[in-house]
């Protein structure tokens, strides 16, 4: 049974409101009573607005239409009803007639002994008038006199007899409602030119929820299977929720940017120091203090988190000693000059970077809970379904095998769909760039931003993004739909030293090439900024540098470098080929050479040790591109991971985590986003899992109740991709070998071997390695293993993870040979 209880006054203090709140609480096991305020309903006027009712009236109309009955808490002003209540009754009896044949219970409280008796009598007459035509529970006059003294501090009625009488009245009302609903459901004929049915038709959106045919029902739906989504799904499941986790990417390509990231998680052990550091990173922007506290508190607990929830032996890159820790040295505190920097640490689940180890762990947590979490790959989310009245998010439209499906989320929806690195329009609109080359997932298309906007979310950090790679966060230019190749360390060394320089669109230099970027940010007059993007930046170098590049194993073998290299005998010719002014480019090189000779570079203060005079020719140019590693823009959220509207109020049942609306603003410290995925993913998942009944509108609630009584629809006909292990067939002398160490997850091989463990054939049955080098490894290495009859063949450079995974899978198979 669902009732709405109209608080019959617009004042802040009201004992009638207290009375209704008490009833809602006291009778919660018998009925859901939703309090409705009338404060925002304008004064009734038959002429204004001219043709249509105000939106507040429509909302109330919808609520009344959907309620089984209405309780009115009626104060008394001047021996009569308050005008604000009468105004509501006028609205509800002029163009629309939602109260027609609606069972009504009148209650009233007043400061004096009469308990609003005169007001109640008048309201009774009004409700009985032909325009209103409500059916009022006869007798059962509940008159709460001396109401200022009637309640205790907890809002309960003090007097036991009064409660007894209220219970009796309410039970009579329940009976009255049951009897009446059995008799008739159809609205009576009215004098209005618009019937209730017409009203419902005209206000379709108000009833969409009721009309929806749900294809499947879950407690929590998580959109996006990356680090944040996997975390949210896992913690929602641990809190008892039945979870659906969807991702737009095909199986093996899920993981968002988490799978491509260095796997380093921001952490620390000194709350105050770390907070100081994060405030400095954000400066000069402001960030909600509670958000920072939540985030920093989470980072201080990361080591425990990895132990407790991910069963890992966490590694501290600042404090632990192990081989290979040098690679992360420069990014443990990317802004070492900021106060508090020395407290920042990076944590991993084992000793290693860029190997998807954290991602694999997070993914396994989901696989382990396949009884609670269903997964769908290649299934993009299209739209959130929002209750028009309460604004609560009740479900999601997803696209599964080209069919749109309505998925109900009883308790919450988590947006964890990553950034907008691959959405050209957003990149132009928010980042002001013609093109940015993604380094991470190509499935991050900013779909969550649009979906959040549609349901009224506020946005934040839209202009923040990070780059990584060569120079100021660049990669060798690639085709529009390709990922850029991330190169750092030795490759950056060779490109930022000697007779080589970078020019922007006009052929002039625009930054200090030898200064390493901090996630794409370079020094900018005391601050650190991602430089203004150039449409066609080029590296210009001479033959000596060319020879050095050819010695670099990775650069020299990289196709985008080899194919796009431009060679010219003169600067003039080179200028023509790269579309810059000849004189300007000449001047640029003259200045550079002079600086090298004078051992002082006055334009950008590049370290003189890194300068070398250009040879006479030939000259080379290679097109570069600004990379985008991650974006931070998305729906604004609070410390409970609730998505907020522009008034900073949570949109009920909607949560977000990860890169979509990330907390990191302005300067970015590596590990920040992964920390965010773990910290806010957990909060989002847990909050989404909490069952909610308080703020749901009736349509949603009523069919929820029905469904709760029946079994869940026969588990789901849409299919579940969260399979723990696939079976593969084997013939004579064939063995299946597996490794979970691939970038994209499992690598499965079928080995054909004789009894002496000679490798006859290696077939790859399953892999989801990333494009280019990973695939190259899986193509070439099996052949080589057969030819050389050994597992330990040379790894393909740049694909050490995929190579290792393949070797380990073959070894696994070989071990099975008796």
């Amino acid at each position: 049974m669902h009732f709405i209880a109209i608080v019959g006054t617009n004042t802040k203090q009201s004992t009638n409101r207290k009375l209704l709140s008490f009833m809602a609480k006291h009778f919660s096991s018998e009925a859901n009573i939703e309090l409705c305020e009338i404060r925002n309903i304008p004064m009734f006027n038959e002429n204004k607005p001219q043709n249509d009712d105000p939106v507040e009236v429509k909302e109330l109309t919808s609520k009344v239409l959907q309620a089984d009955g209405v309780i009115i808490g009626c104060p008394e002003y001047t021996h009569s009803f308050p005008s604000s209540l009468k105004s509501v009754l006028e609205w509800l009896s002029y163009r629309v007639h939602p109260l027609a044949e609606k069972p009504i219970m009148l209650v009233g409280a007043s400061k004096y002994a009469t308990g609003a008796s005169r007001s109640q009598n008048q309201v009774r007459e009004i409700l009985d008038s032909p325009g209103v035509s409500a059916i009022v529970l006869p007798g059962n006059e509940f008159l709460l006199g001396n109401s200022y003294d009637a309640f205790d501090s907890a809002g309960n009625i003090k007097d036991k007899k009064t409660i007894d009488f209220l219970e009796q009245c309410f039970s009579n009302f329940l009976e009255f409602v049951n009897n009446n609903s059995a008799v008739s459901q159809k609205p009576v004929g009215t004098t209005s030119n618009k019937t209730n049915e017409e009203f419902v038709k005209e206000n379709k959106t108000m009833n969409t929820i009721k009309d929806i045919r749900w294809d499947a029902i879950y407690d929590v739906v998580v959109l996006g299977f990356g680090g944040a989504g996997a975390t949210a799904a896992r913690f929602a499941a641990d809190d008892g929720a039945k979870v659906l986790l969807v991702d737009s990417a095909p199986e093996g390509h899920e993981g968002g940017n988490t799978r491509y990231a260095a796997q380093l998680v921001g952490s620390g052990d000194d709350f105050d120091g770390l907070k100081k550091y994060y405030k400095n990173l954000t400066f000069p922007m402001n960030l909600d203090e509670e958000m920072i506290d939540t985030y920093v508190e989470g980072m201080v607990g990361i080591q425990d988190y990895l132990k407790k929830y991910l069963d890992a032996e966490p590694v501290s890159w600042r404090h632990d000693d192990f081989e290979g820790k040098e690679v992360a040295k420069s990014i443990i505190a990317e802004f070492p000059e900021f106060p508090g920097a020395q407290t920042h640490d990076l944590a991993t689940v084992h000793q290693g970077v860029f190997d998807a180890a954290l991602w694999q762990n997070l993914k396994q947590q989901v696989s382990k809970r396949s009884d609670k979490i269903e997964v769908m790959y290649s299934t993009p989310a299209r739209k959130l379904i929002q209750d028009p009245t309460t604004k609560a998010i009740c479900g999601v439209v997803i696209e599964r095998e080209h069919v749109l499906r309505n998925i109900k989320a009883q308790n919450g929806v988590v947006l964890a769909m990553g950034g907008f690195e691959n959405n050209q329009q957003y990149i132009e609109d928010f980042l002001g760039a013609k093109k940015l080359t993604p380094l991470g997932s190509i499935y991050n298309k900013g779909a969550g931003i649009k979906m959040a906007q549609e349901v009224g979310a506020d946005l934040w950090h839209m202009n923040n993004f990070e780059s990584l790679g060569l120079l100021h966060g660049m990669a060798f230019s690639v085709e529009d739909d390709e990922r850029g190749r991330l190169m750092i360390g030795a490759q950056n060394q060779v490109l930022s030293n000697g007779s080589i320089l970078a020019v922007g669109d006009d052929g002039t230099r625009y930054f200090n090439e030898s200064e390493e970027n901090r996630h794409g940010h370079i020094k900018n007059h005391g601050s650190w900024k991602v430089p203004l993007n150039q449409v066609h930046p080029y590296l210009i170098f001479d033959q000596t540098k060319k020879n050095e590049l050819d010695k670099d194993d990775i650069i020299s073998k990289y196709e985008s470098y080899r194919n796009n290299l431009i060679k010219a005998d003169s600067i003039a010719q080179l200028a023509k080929l790269i579309d810059v002014d000849e004189a300007v480019l000449k001047e640029t090189i003259v200045r550079f050479d002079n600086a090298a000779k004078n051992k002082e570079e006055t334009e950008f203060h590049r370290d003189p040790k890194t300068l070398r005079v250009f040879d006479k020719g030939p000259f080379y140019a290679i097109k570069m591109a600004q990379t985008v590693l991650n974006t931070q823009g998305g729906p604004r959220r609070n410390s409970r991971s609730e998505v907020l509207n522009p008034d900073a109020q949570p949109i009920p049942h909607l949560y977000s985590a990860g890169e979509l609306g990330g907390i990191c603003a302005n300067h970015y410290q590596g590990g920040g986003n992964l920390a965010e995925c773990l910290i806010f993913g957990k909060i989002a998942g847990q909050n989404a899992a909490v069952p909610k009944v308080d703020e749901l509108s009736i349509s949603y609630l009523s069919d929820t109740a029905e469904e709760n009584n029946t079994e869940r629809p026969k588990s789901f006909t849409l299919g579940n991709d969260n399979t723990t292990e696939e079976k593969f067939t084997t013939g004579k002398d064939q063995y299946i070998g597996r490794s979970a160490a691939g970038i994209g997850g499992e690598v499965v091989v079928r080995l054909t071997s004789d009894s002496k463990k000679n490798i006859k054939n290696v077939e790859i049955l399953k892999q989801s390695e990333s494009g280019d080098v990973g695939l190259e490894a899986l193509e070439k290495m099996p052949e080589e293993m057969v030819t050389k009859n050994k597992i330990d063949v040379d790894a393909i450079s740049g694909a050490s993870v995929s190579s290792k995974a393949l070797k380990s899978a073959v070894a696994d198979a070989l071990n099975q040979v008796n």
Binding site: H79, P82, S84, E90, E125, D128
Partner: protein, 181 residues
Amino acid sequence: MNFVAIEGTNADFSYNRFLLHYIRNHFVSKHVIEVCEIANLPVFNADLDVKKQPVVLELAKRVEKSDGVIIATPEYDHSIPAVLKSTIEWLSYQLNSFSKKPVFIIGASYGPQGSARAQLHLRQILSSPDVMANVLPGNEFLLGNVTQQFDDEQNLKDAAIIEKLEVSFNDFITYTSTFKK
């Protein structure tokens, strides 16, 4: 004498407004009757300070300075319009504009009853201790079937009705005079 006549609705078109204008014109030789509209008054809210409501204060001043008030009420859902109730609430909550003020209730309606039920509610409301108006007893002026009552110049057509109005109005003058002494 000086009277304030309150038009009890915020509707653009109202026969009650015709009625008040007719009364103003009909008795203009002897009395000043100022017709006041209430459409621009804010919605009454007990949390708001009336001192910050200039429109309300303006009406209150006129009511307080007048010798008596005529209220024309339509009938909405068997009672008075919310906007009229709101006006009375404003003038009686932090103010006492109606206290002991002679009031003459009239009303027009499309049906034959002439807003009889709304007038009864209005009488109860005005007589409540918070408002404490002196409502003219008896003399119910109920103008039913209102679409047929006015001619093209918006004057009442029916001589018997005009006479009834004059009798009631004269009673109101007498009643008001007793309070003036």
